[in-house]
């Protein structure tokens, strides 16, 4: 059974149509990449799956057999969808450590695992800082990953985990994504999935099980295929070539 099924999803934001009849699936244990140029609607798609208020949505979003289309973001999160925003807001007076504590209480996350992940990400020094205030781009990504780990989601939505990140940090981020999705543990009973939005696909080299990618252009899913092949084509011919692609969905 597919963990996530998106059926003919159209999204309007302030009267403007951003996504048009998008359909795709994410299987259990699968990592799906979404590729596409700036402004093509990739982030909007993740926000629509997460339940951003103010979106005018038609079509259906099914998560583990449950129609979540009308649910609030917090209900979806409680069902097991986790979201790593591209540009998370800074929160005055909200300490990272406190938020981690609250999340791990809600989701029953193992403290030792979180301690290890924060060491791996080398962000212990940020724990007592106010969330995202004055953080660099790379620090924001790492902190969001730690928060995501605390949430322990069944389906992780990752919006450009590789943008603004220095080259040395990419493998670390990839490793933590693998841990969150459980890709590094073959004995894991519960299969976890992820959708990774990536502009240039840099992160995909470090993430296991990323076997399928979709290309989104002008609010529509244009084609899908093996991520490495698609990225090679895009690097050679640009996204415009996709318009003539034979692997149309």
């Amino acid at each position: 059974m597919a963990m996530l099924k998106v059926e003919e999803l159209s999204v309007k934001v302030r009267e403007r149509e951003i996504l048009r009849e998008v359909s795709f699936e994410v299987g259990e244990g699968e990592i799906v990449a979404l590729l596409g140029p700036n402004g093509s609607g990739k982030s909007t798609l993740l926000h629509a799956i997460m339940g951003r208020p103010g979106y005018e949505v038609s079509g259906r979003i099914i998560f583990n057999g449950i129609d979540i289309t009308g649910m609030s973001a917090s209900e979806r999160a409680k069902l097991g969808i986790g979201f790593m925003m591209q540009m998370p807001p800074a929160l005055k007076g909200v300490r990272l450590r406190d938020l981690i504590k609250r999340l791990s209480k809600i989701y029953g996350t193992d403290q030792d695992t979180l301690r290890r992940i924060s060491e791996e990400l080398r962000i212990e020094r940020l724990l007592d800082r106010e969330l995202h205030r004055g953080f660099s781009g790379g620090e924001m990504k790492k902190v969001e990953l730690l928060l995501l780990a605390a949430q322990n989601p069944k389906l992780a939505l990752l919006d450009e985990p590789d943008s603004g990140v220095d080259l040395e940090s990419l493998p670390i981020i990839g490793k933590v994504i693998n841990e969150i999705v459980g890709a590094s543990d073959s004995r894991a009973r519960e299969k976890r999935s992820a959708i990774i939005v990536t502009h240039m696909g840099k992160i995909l080299k470090h993430v296991r099980n990323a076997n399928r990618a979709y290309i989104i252009l002008n609010g529509e899913v244009k084609c899908f295929g093996n991520p490495a092949d698609l990225i090679e084509d895009i690097e050679k011919y640009g996204f415009s070539e996709c318009l003539r692609c034979v692997r149309v969905v």
Partner: protein
């Protein structure tokens, strides 16, 4: 001479705040209505207070903390300890409230003197209760921190809820060379109280003045604008206020720092939450005329109701070019983006709001006694709830 100046100023309105008639508060209507046990609502154990005044009468004076002299104003005047400090940092003819304090306040209030070089760790607690409805309470307080001394004064003020009362407390603080004074005010006025404190602080070379003002209860009207004069090289000031204004509260809360000497610096931070139909003005002024002076103002306002109002007025006055002054101000409702962000983590809308409000109000006050801190935390929880 003081009396004459006061009499002449008795009809002089304050430039800010609702104008009150002093004579309306000179006719106490009933016998005192509040006991000292009420202090526990702000986390203060009356047994541990160094000074307690009910209306205009000192009822407890406990000079039990080593390194600090604790007296009533009348004692201190009699012993000739404060002649140079009395009506010095605050002028008696500032307005009708200073005048009323001199003429009708009874020359009582607390006097704390931290001895030279003594770093007093235990905070000195003082409590002022306005108990008799319809009356004027006008304590005149003087704190002197001698050279190199350190002192933390915490005052809790309470009023009876039964009828309008006017509190016009005069506070004059003197921080000598290398001294440090922290002054924390935790107030719980009644919806019928009018409050007009008048505060002046003079800080000498290398000295530091830190003040925290906290008020989370409804009030009929509050207008205050403490003035801090940094007159010695390298002196510093930090003024923070945390205000939750519910119901029909009308508040005009200011803070002015005058950087008069070289390399002086100041920071003024105010955080205001309005609910219901509250109306709050925050004014801050940093005026700089000392070379190398630096100052920063930060004003944050959060409106939790559509019919409340926040007007924030940060002002910077540079009188020479070799100074650095800045301000940041942000007023509005809770950010939709921040709420959504927290909801994507699984918090309900209510929980997300309360996390944001608590974060907004976060202010670190070092050296608060545990019960006061607990009470403060509870007040914040209450403020964050029921949005």
């Amino acid at each position: 001479m003081l009396k004459k100046a006061a009499e002449e100023a008795l009809n002089k309105p304050s430039p800010y705040g609702i104008d009150l008639r002093i004579e309306d508060f000179l006719k106490p209507r009933a016998s005192p209505s509040m006991g000292l046990e009420a202090l526990s609502s702000i986390g203060i154990d009356p047994e541990r207070a160094s000074y307690i005044q009910v209306d205009n009468r000192p009822v407890e004076v406990r000079p039990s903390i080593p390194g600090v002299k604790v007296l009533t104003l009348s004692q201190a005047l009699e012993e000739g300890l404060v002649q140079d400090y009395f009506w010095n940092a605050v002028k008696v003819d500032t307005d009708k409230y200073t005048a009323a304090a001199e003429l009708f306040g009874g020359h009582e209030g607390y006097v704390f003197i931290a001895e030279r070089g003594r770093k007093v760790e235990q905070p000195v607690l003082s409590c002022l209760l306005l108990s008799t409805p319809g009356s004027l309470q006008a304590p005149h307080n003087i704190v002197i921190v001698e050279e190199g001394a350190e002192l933390h004064v915490i005052t809790g003020c309470l009023t009876s809820a039964e009828a309008p009362g006017l509190h016009a407390g005069i506070s004059e603080f003197y921080v000598k060379e290398g001294g440090r004074l922290t002054f924390t005010m935790i107030h719980q006025w009644a919806p019928t109280s009018h409050v007009r404190p008048r505060t002046g602080v003079i800080v000498e070379r290398g000295g530091e003045y830190v003040s925290h003002y906290i008020n989370m209860s409804p009030i009929a009207s509050l207008q205050t604008d403490p003035k801090v004069y940094l007159v010695g090289e390298g002196a510093k000031a930090y003024l923070s206020s945390v205000i939750v204004a519910p119901r029909e509260s009308k508040m005009d809360v200011g803070g002015s720092v005058f950087l008069r000497a070289e390399n002086t610096s100041a920071e003024i931070v105010s955080k205001v939450i309005t609910k219901d139909r509250a109306d709050v003005i925050t004014r801050s002024l940093i005026s700089a005329e000392g070379r190398g002076a630096r100052g920063h103002i930060e004003c944050d306002g959060l409106l939790l109701s559509d019919s409340s109002r926040i007007l924030t007025l940060p002002a910077l006055d540079a009188k020479i070019d070799d100074v650095q002054l800045s301000h940041e101000a942000a007023v509005g409702r809770l950010s939709e983006e921040q709420l959504y962000y927290l909801m994507t983590k699984g918090f309900s809308e209510e929980e997300a709001k309360s996390i944001l409000v608590r974060g907004f109000m976060e202010v670190k006050i070092e050296g608060l006694p545990r019960p006061v801190e607990a009470q403060l935390k509870m007040a914040l929880e209450l403020a964050a709830r029921g949005l």
